[in-house]
Symmetry: C2
Subunit: 284 residues, 2 copies
């Protein structure tokens, strides 16, 4: 009976469905592997970015220490260093996530192996149905042939003995056919039962898989979000630091460092030289 | 007179101060050049990051299209592509900023050249003061020597004629010394005037330079902030998209794609085969 929305079970109603569902489990393993690879690449990207930021910090620290602008380079250096740290931390979180994904991947393989064992009965039911389907077809054809033969003999007005013999054959074929129908229906019922159970199990496995995958993606997303917030704080700090170092402060620092003195040169007078000479010149 | 906080003028009160201030202008040019280099490096870093994100998008688009997880790769692809665009845009903004910095650098060179011409008078005043300082020292020493000589002769009780001659020499040396003092003070006053003007001009140039540099940094900061906001939106979208693709939807899509049929196999009955044979078998 059709449910309001398709489910796994609908994929498994015919013999081929079992294979589709079984192989989908393997696709689940592939998805886990690919997610780990994607996150590994992201980790590498963040590592590279972090290193680039460290290089920028180095560049800022090599900024000329002469001139009024010099203190600004420290603001750039601090900010770049902090950004480098943020992205390095993200790389580490990505590496942690890869471990989680791989751990799940291992569990997944175990679950699938166990499921394979549990589904031996279904595989047998599928095979039995295929076998019975063959028998059914063959006995149907046999019965069909016998009926046609009987019909032909009747039309030809064959002797009674021959007709009786053909009727017996037809009756036996009908009995055999009926037997195979019964067998087919019994095996079919078993198949339906097993297949329904397996489809249910496949669906559970798939749901658990997707739940787990979404959980891993959430962790990915969460780490990136955290870093994004941190990076925002570093930017805010940078802006604030630039704001805080006023032009007057820069000029003041420069004057303090390079200043040659606060006193204006006093004007020279003759008297002091006379006075300076007094000890010698004034002895007279 | 000392002002409440140091200013450029305090750097220029002695002869060496002019050189300090003049060279600081050159440091301003270096700062502009270094800022352009820093922004260029940042642009390169963003370009690399953008390319890495495109690579990640490619990786996501190569994610297996089999299995229930398949539609999630599209969410990763779209997000990575958008991040690549955000950082590419930032790279472009950095390149625009480099152009602005270089443009300012050219103006700066012109301003400094003009300033150098304007300050010829100050340079001359500095040199004149140095020359007069030498003369002053020399005439002071000359006067000193004559006074000592007169003193010695008096102690020795030299003849009146010799004393009168020495007194005349001492008087002449005193007159010359007084003349050099007057000259030195006049040149010193000129120097002070010129130096004060120049220091004021240097301060104006420096303030304008720092104002411009801070403006350029603000533009840098603003571009990074814009990108940060955009990146945040991309993350929010990613999270929302992951949320929106429910596990039931993924299973539904898979069932629709891979489903082998919605109908359960009907059980087989003998009657239908009999009926199927009727046109031939039922003619009797």
């Amino acid at each position: 009976p059709a449910s309001p929305r398709p489910t796994m079970e609908e994929t498994g109603e015919k013999n081929g469905g079992f294979d589709v569902l079984y192989h989908n489990m393997k696709h689940g393993q592939l998805a886990t592997k690919e997610l780990a690879e994607f996150v590994r690449e992201r980790a590498a990207v963040e590592e590279t970015y972090s290193k680039s930021m460290s290089k920028l910090a180095k560049m800022a620290s090599n900024g000329s220490q002469l001139g009024t602008f010099a203190p600004m380079w420290d603001v750039f250096r601090v900010s770049s260093d902090k950004l480098a740290l943020c992205h390095l931390e993200l790389m580490k979180k990505m590496n942690d996530l890869i471990r989680d994904i791989n751990k799940y991947g291992d569990e997944q393989v175990k679950t699938h192996r166990k499921t394979k064992e549990e589904m031996v009965g279904t595989v047998e039911a599928v095979q039995a149905l295929q076998v019975q389907s063959g028998h059914l077809q063959k006995s149907k054809e046999g019965y069909h042939t016998k009926c046609l033969e009987l019909d032909r003999l009747r039309k030809e007005g064959a002797p009674q003995k021959e007709l009786e013999k053909a009727e017996l054959k037809s009756k036996k074929a009908a009995e055999s056919f009926a037997l195979y129908i019964e067998k087919y229906n019994r095996v079919g019922g078993e198949f339906e039962q097993k297949m329904s159970e397996s489809a249910q199990r496949f669906q559970e496995i798939e749901e658990a898989h997707l739940r787990q995958m979404k959980q891993l993606i959430k962790s990915y997303s969460h780490s990136i979000e955290d870093t994004h917030v941190q990076v925002g704080q570093v930017h805010e700090e940078f802006k604030q630091n630039v704001e805080n170092i006023g032009i007057d402060i820069l000029i003041q620092r420069f004057a303090e460092q390079k200043g040659t003195g606060k006193e204006r040169p006093a004007s020279v007078g003759f008297e002091e030289y006379m006075a300076a000479l007094t000890p010698e010149g004034g002895k007279k």
